[in-house]
Symmetry: C2
Subunit: 389 residues, 2 copies
């Protein structure tokens, strides 16, 4: 007998984990818009407008800028599978979980990754990239901008210069940074960048904005082998998204494009600078509060990502108990540690709509209550009063 | 200066093309549900319920049944990239556009496709598959169930027997058939099947339901090479969707899962048999009406897919004029021809929510009016009266 499940009615949540973040109600509303055909002139216009606003947020004039029909990880895969051919050398900077994924995908594609490592919670020093480039004639250098596993915001300018001096393509994972920190593709000469919609852009997960510079497009056109993926083949996607005569490739999700378009409108109406400032201010508040409670921030000082803060779990405190109680008693989600940081760190996201003063204060007071209950010594109100000071 | 585009307000449409079809309002409403974390126990339950209802519609007990985070084409790519390794032999049945795509993807993966062809608008004769299997020791035989480019519904039972006699995996593209015609994976011994949400399931595009038999799972586990795609790696997706302890793979789109869950509830509440019957009845009505207007149906009689009807464009009638006027004067979208049928055929979809008696009558009367204006001789009311008879 077939089971037909009941009405969808999940509990309300405040999403302060590594993403998804809370979605702006205007975006939720936009998703109730009925479908259009994938070749409908009105839909093509919506696609054009969406790509145009994406360029503004990416800080680029790149023609090949579009949302891939998948979640953030599909952006990573698209970025790599279009440029990496079997036996291509690629330098992958690993300072957390997601750098490791880049290396994994590059290997699956037959590429030869050279790993440049830094300890989790620190940045990749530019000279290490230079050393690697002196040893290996790399086609691509890949790095993660905001590492969601460690809370590090990687400086990019100096590395970009080094990469271009060695004539490689500069590939940057902007999944967590886009919309919360300037990514500035053109100013920084980033050749390939991808992101997700569910972090600082304030949309639901489901699309992966991506952008390729002219040099990256040339590299794709000069491939010796066929792109191994049809679904992520940028030469075909380009014809659908920006060709003179649009050519069908796949039926994109109108709903997800509607959502992204509305999310981008919200972002641009707030203003990029104001948005970055908001992310920064709320992160400072959170960090002051956590520090005042005697908690230790893990990411290297001076390089902390404003949208994701990693906190060391104090000795004797149960990771799972605290997170469960935050969820069950306060409806607040924060993230557990990933990879090397599993069981050792909490990941607190203040991304997009979730980055509000209200959420910071709620979290600090809930955390104080729960930590005290577990026997952690904290002066009553210390976190909140430091935060509002 | 950055352009911020205006409010999203597309014109209303009646979608009678090759998909997307109209979305049930309950599904649109479900998409306004706020996000949950990808590891939230409530979300895991929603995933389980969705997979369970998917199994009911697929007609399978396959454990590995889930929606891939991409549109229908990502289902095709996932199906192939998990089982095809370099130099693997695959027999691809091509009787339209989408069969051709399967061969394209198989080649990109390093597979060696042997093509079994039939003229566009006809079915693949089972004996041709048998002949091919006698010549080639194929790992997989792939075929499209409902060919959206030609309107053919391919019989599967006899071919399935042949495929299994030769110990190959039977891979069936159910993008357009699922929810509108029985696909019956277990009864028909189909090893790998994939679909889309935007056709007969009545959801928006954005997910690709997929299912693998135990034998297909074994084949994946016995691969000699790594799966070339991380995003579509079923061994990792399985751990997230159905593992004892769920392991993060990527942030799925909660919104799309909410939509699919609601669409499946609507499908199962209507009842599968009643739904197939509705698709069949409305297709008969449409076909009677079109024939009474003197129009020629292209797909081979006896094998016409109820969800997609191909009609020959009469001599002297402008394909583009008719479709433009249908859209601009009546808000109705029908599809143009694809591939071999470009400029020669119209594709009329009656899928999911779009498959209603009202839509058939609206289309027939609009078509009569526009064809007459273009000089085509048609007895007034001929289509509609034949349809309601």
């Amino acid at each position: 007998m077939t089971t037909i499940y009941g009405e969808l009615k999940p509990s309300p949540r405040i999403l302060l984990g590594p993403g998804p973040s809370d979605v702006n109600p205007r975006v939720l509303k936009a998703m109730t818009t009925p479908m259009l055909g994938y070749m409908d002139a009105e839909f093509i216009q919506i696609m054009d407008e969406t790509a145009d606003m994406l360029r503004a947020v990416f800080g680029t004039k790149n023609a090949l800028t579009l949302p891939v029909s998948g979640t953030g990880m599909s952006g990573m895969e698209s970025a790599l599978c279009n440029v990496i051919e079997p036996d291509d050398e690629i330098i992958v900077c690993i300072k957390g979980y997601f750098g490791g994924r880049i290396a994994d995908i590059a290997e699956r594609l037959g590429g030869k990754p050279t790993i440049v490592e830094a300890e989790w919670g620190t940045i990749i020093p530019p000279e290490k990239v230079e050393d690697a480039l002196k040893k290996v004639k790399a086609k691509v250098v890949a790095i993660v901008h905001a590492e969601t596993s460690t809370g590090i915001l990687q400086p990019l300018d100096e590395i970009s210069e080094i990469v271009h001096k060695h004539d490689a393509l500069f590939l940057v994972d902007c999944v967590t940074s886009l919309g919360g920190q300037p990514v500035d593709l053109d100013r920084r000469c980033i050749d390939i960048a991808y992101s997700g919609t569910q972090k600082c852009l304030g949309g639901p997960p489901g699309l992966a904005p991506i952008s390729f510079s002219g040099k990256a497009v040339e590299t794709i056109k000069n491939r010796k082998t066929k792109i191994p993926s049809f679904y992520f083949d940028m030469t075909l996607l380009e014809r659908y998204w920006s060709g003179e005569k649009r050519a069908y490739h796949h039926t994109v999700s109108m709903t997800m494009v509607y959502a992204l378009r509305e999310a981008l409108r919200v972002v641009l109406e707030e203003g990029l600078d104001a948005r970055y400032e908001r992310h920064q201010c709320n992160a400072e508040m959170l960090k002051s509060g956590l520090t005042a409670m005697g908690l230790e921030l893990i990411a290297q000082d001076g390089y902390r990502a404003p949208m994701l803060t990693t906190v060391a779990i104090p000795d004797g405190i149960s990771d799972v108990n605290i997170r469960k109680s935050l969820m069950n008693e306060h409806g607040i989600e924060i993230g557990g540690g990933l990879g090397d940081f599993a069981g050792k760190a909490w990941r607190i996201g203040l991304m997009g709509e979730s980055s509000t003063q209200k959420n910071v204060l709620l979290l600090l007071s809930a955390l104080e209550k729960l930590l005290s209950k577990e026997g952690y010594k904290v002066e009553p109100g210390a976190g909140v009063s430091a935060a509002v000071r």
